[in-house]
């Protein structure tokens, strides 16, 4: 059936040295969809992807990719999967074109198929002019696009992307997003991990929030915000911010103090904004609630030591 999930995970769990890294995780990735997995460092995102690739054996639960059990039949599944990992594994001794060609051989693709795909993928990665350059001569954004191009050499139906834009400058990130949207338009399915909320909001049809290996929320980006947050956020900074927090708390649904900044969450911001206009000891920023607010609400503001 066309609506069967490409990836079906049920009650997946993984423990390392007594510590639970993935805890009873279930998810479905439907054809043509971009599913985002967001969560702080150490939430279990990468471990989950590695289990989907048969590189980590789960302690419990099941994974099926294209209806094939993983890891038992992972080789067949991998023939239809493309992977971009957080750390580049490009071959430093090969040119861009050779990187693609050699990778194609790992899939057992015939020479003719590989030779036809390499120029197209270089173009897709905006690297036509760099076909003869080695990865060491490329910028971070170019290397990441080459990794994406390499992941497409087998024309996969499913892409697993682990923090694909971490470490890139804004121009390179936007180009990467544009390419990923193009792939979604072509009907590819994507499972994406990220901790950039703007990335999740732009690309993903659905999101799963992971923390300490557990799924703590699931839904569309807008739906999750509506479900968990008030519609408006007013950020207040400055010497008088903490005093304002005490004074104005009754006007809003919820306040949060982080360092010298106070976050007011409300569905009706006008009384608060009115009360703040004459307070010259603070600066204010009024904006709609976004995924970052949701993420911080669900996973907390404290820094993760295992980051």
């Amino acid at each position: 059936m066309a609506s069967d999930p490409l990836l079906r995970i049920r009650h997946l769990s993984k423990r390392y040295a007594g510590q639970t890294v993935v805890d009873d995780l279930s998810l479905d990735l439907r054809p043509g969809e971009c599913l985002g997995v967001i969560g702080p460092n150490g939430a279990g995102k990468t471990t989950t992807l590695r289990m989907c690739l048969g590189l980590v054996g789960p302690d419990g639960g099941t994974i099926e990719a294209f209806g094939l059990p993983v890891p038992a039949r992972v080789r067949e599944a991998k023939a239809r999967i493309g992977v971009v990992t957080q750390f580049d594994s490009l071959d430093p001794d090969f040119t861009c074109a050779e990187n693609l060609r050699v990778y194609g051989r790992y899939f057992g693709l015939p020479r003719g198929v590989i030779e036809a795909r390499v120029p197209k993928l270089l173009e897709f990665a905006a690297l036509q002019a760099k076909a003869g350059a080695r990865p060491g001569e490329l910028s971070g954004g170019m290397r990441r696009r080459l990794s994406l191009g390499r992941a497409l050499i087998n024309d996969p139906d499913l892409l697993l992307l682990d923090e694909p834009t971490t470490g890139l400058d804004p121009q390179a990130r936007h180009l990467m997003w544009e390419r990923l949207k193009l792939l979604l338009q072509q009907g590819k399915s994507i499972l994406l991990t990220t901790h950039f909320m703007d990335e999740a909001e732009r690309l993903c049809d659905r999101l799963i929030v992971l923390d300490h290996g557990r799924k703590i929320a699931e839904g569309t980006p807008r739906g999750l915000i509506a479900e968990h947050l008030e519609s408006d956020v007013v950020e207040v900074y400055g010497d008088g911010a903490r005093a304002a927090a005490e004074r104005l708390r009754p006007l809003v649904a919820r306040t949060e103090v982080s360092g010298e900044t106070v976050f007011f969450y409300t569905r009706e911001p006008r009384p608060l904004l009115g009360a703040l206009t004459d307070d010259h000891s603070v600066r204010t920023l009024h904006r709609p609630a976004n995924l970052e607010d949701l993420f911080l609400k669900l996973t907390g503001r404290q820094i993760r030591d295992d980051a």
Binding site: Y16, L53, G54, L55, V56, G57, P58, D59, P71, A72, R75, E76, K78, A79, I81, V83, T85, F87, D88, S89, L90, D91, P92, D93, F94, E98, V102, Y103, R105, Y106, F107, G108, R150, A151, N154
Partner: protein, 261 residues
């Protein structure tokens, strides 16, 4: 379902693209690589063979240079395979993350370990071929049986590559390999009848020498390079095969543990 660490090797033909990958890198650096592999044994041959040889005379009726050349070719083979399966494989496995990239394709870790073992053996044969040419060119030996030494040296390469991959799987950094060279390989070259006959040593050391893979290699390769037949085939081939089989299996299990924990 945890990934089983101890199961038998699961071979598949997907090892071949991995060998081809290494071959493609080697082709880019082939000339300096082979030059380096020839220069060192050539210097040893000239310095010790002619220099020391003029003092020693002959061993077992052979001029020392012939004795030395026919033994040290086994050492060169063992060292070339070891070096490739330690430093170069470690670079690909750990530093460059090449193996991680390959594992995301439909290639299993078993394929990669097999490919690395085979590649290291193949690369040792490139050095061996070059040294055989030097032996031929300097007229140290021109025996036709030298050609038979080549496949045997391939077995020697497989043996030393397999054992080296055990240490590759255990390594946290390159420094670790220094121990393997200084504590294992260098002493072995002195005990294996390369520079002087094993019979010169005390009986208990001779007993040790006879279970060393390099002694087995020298026993097989030396006569063939000099135009004779080995006194025995089975015992030395058995020693090489045992080190290769046990080494390869242990290397595979330890590499699986390293990757899959």
């Amino acid at each position: 379902m945890l990934i089983p660490l101890y199961r038998a090797p699961q071979p598949s033909l997907r090892f071949w693209p991995v060998v081809r990958r290494n071959l493609l890198v080697w082709k880019k650096l082939a000339v300096p690589s082979v030059m380096g592999n020839i220069a060192e044994p050539l210097i040893t041959l000239i310095a010790f063979g002619y220099g020391l040889g003029s003092l020693i005379g002959a061993i077992g009726g052979e001029p020392y240079i012939r004795y030395l050349a026919s033994g040290s070719i086994a050492v060169s083979c063992a060292l070339a395979a070891t070096f490739e399966a330690l430093y170069s494989a470690f670079s690909r496995m750990h530093v460059q993350r090449t193996w991680d990239g390959i594992l995301n394709a439909p290639v299993a870790l078993d394929d990669i370990v097999f490919a690395e073992m085979l590649w290291a053996a193949l690369k040792s044969l490139f050095s061996v071929g070059a040294i055989l040419l030097v032996i031929f060119a300097l007229d140290i030996s021109r025996a036709p049986t030298m050609l038979l030494a080549v496949p045997l040296l391939g077995v020697v390469g497989v043996t030393f590559a397999s054992v080296a991959l055990v240490f590759n799987a255990l390594a946290k950094g390159y420094d670790f390999f220094t121990y393997y060279f200084t504590l294992v390989l260098t002493p072995m070259t002195f005990l294996s009848g390369v520079y002087f006959p094993v019979e010169q040593m005390p009986a208990w050391l001779q007993a040790v020498a006879h279970v060393l893979p390099l002694t087995a290699a020298v026993e097989l390769v030396r006569p063939l390079v000099l135009g004779q037949w080995p006194a025995q085939w089975l015992q030395p081939l058995g020693v090489l095969a045992a080190y290769a089989a046990v080494g390869y299996y242990v290397a595979l299990v330890l590499t699986r543990r390293r990757f899959f924990r």
